[in-house]
Symmetry: C2
Subunit: 202 residues, 2 copies
Amino acid sequence: MKKQGILLIISGPSGSGKGTIVGQLCEKNDFALSISATTRKPREKEEHGVHYFFHTREEFEQMKERKELLEWAEFCGNYYGTPRKYVTEQLMQGKNVILEIEVQGALQVKKIYPEGVLVFMVPPNLEELGRRLTNRGTEDKETINMRLRRALEEMELVEEYDYLVINDTVEQAAEDILTIVDAEGMKCSRNKDIKKIFKGEM
Amino acid sequence: MKKQGILLIISGPSGSGKGTIVGQLCEKNDFALSISATTRKPREKEEHGVHYFFHTREEFEQMKERKELLEWAEFCGNYYGTPRKYVTEQLMQGKNVILEIEVQGALQVKKIYPEGVLVFMVPPNLEELGRRLTNRGTEDKETINMRLRRALEEMELVEEYDYLVINDTVEQAAEDILTIVDAEGMKCSRNKDIKKIFKGEM
């Protein structure tokens, strides 16, 4: 019998390096990346079912009503959300799934899917975060300061998370996430069949 | 600041191979083994504070009253228990501590020390357990059957445990326990200082 995959919900401040690590886990470790649904128009080269699931407002609102979304939010007049179907299909096939998402959405998902594993990723300290944001060279000083303040705000919710991963190097942080997934796979709550196996019922 | 160690509470049926794995973790990975207190007389070569803490009945009863024991039980007219002091001293020094203990005692410890990590260790299946007990060559068929029945009884409580480790090979099982300890070290509940670090308070 195939064991169900683990849903990993990763949050962390902008500049924490989440994106790089998630990319590596999908590429090297065969994690599936959750695909968001949105009502915004597809940009050039964006494909339905690859980059996003593109929907009309009416379709999206139906998905909300039918509880087909693990979380959703509205930004700049467009809906964004996580369709439950794609995620559960992957998990049922035994694949681990990653959801990279901001704090409020992450806590919504955990409520609906408590077996999900919440990981908060941070750089070693605030100075390092400032350094990384500066080195990107894409944002002015004011925006960077806003991001640093936002990081401190988000950290207020860190206690709601299951695990803290300190991203000192990409290799170590990716390794840490694999350790978490391995340990979670040994949770008794994910191995309830063991009693049946011992009783000879499986 | 030194991080506190993790208390690992390991149970599992006789023949699951707990003892071998615990020995290896203490020897190779520098885990501290919890030392029990008892009122039974020391055997030859047994040293106080090494093999056991030897106490009179009066002393032991005082320890019980003063809540100085993480768990205790009476067998064949003697008290056995786990002194909290030795365990917490090791943990405060940042050392991981192992407590190898039967199911009822393990659940007592978890109640008093919820940060403790409960690990249930089993062989891959009941046939393998029977084979291992037979291969020991120290017990007759009746005793082995009694141990197998007892194993099934203990497994009824597996859901109270945090993790299930299937001891297929000693190397893999020891590795699994190290994975669990590493992941537990990343739990947000064990890293509450991160907020202070980011706020520059540490």
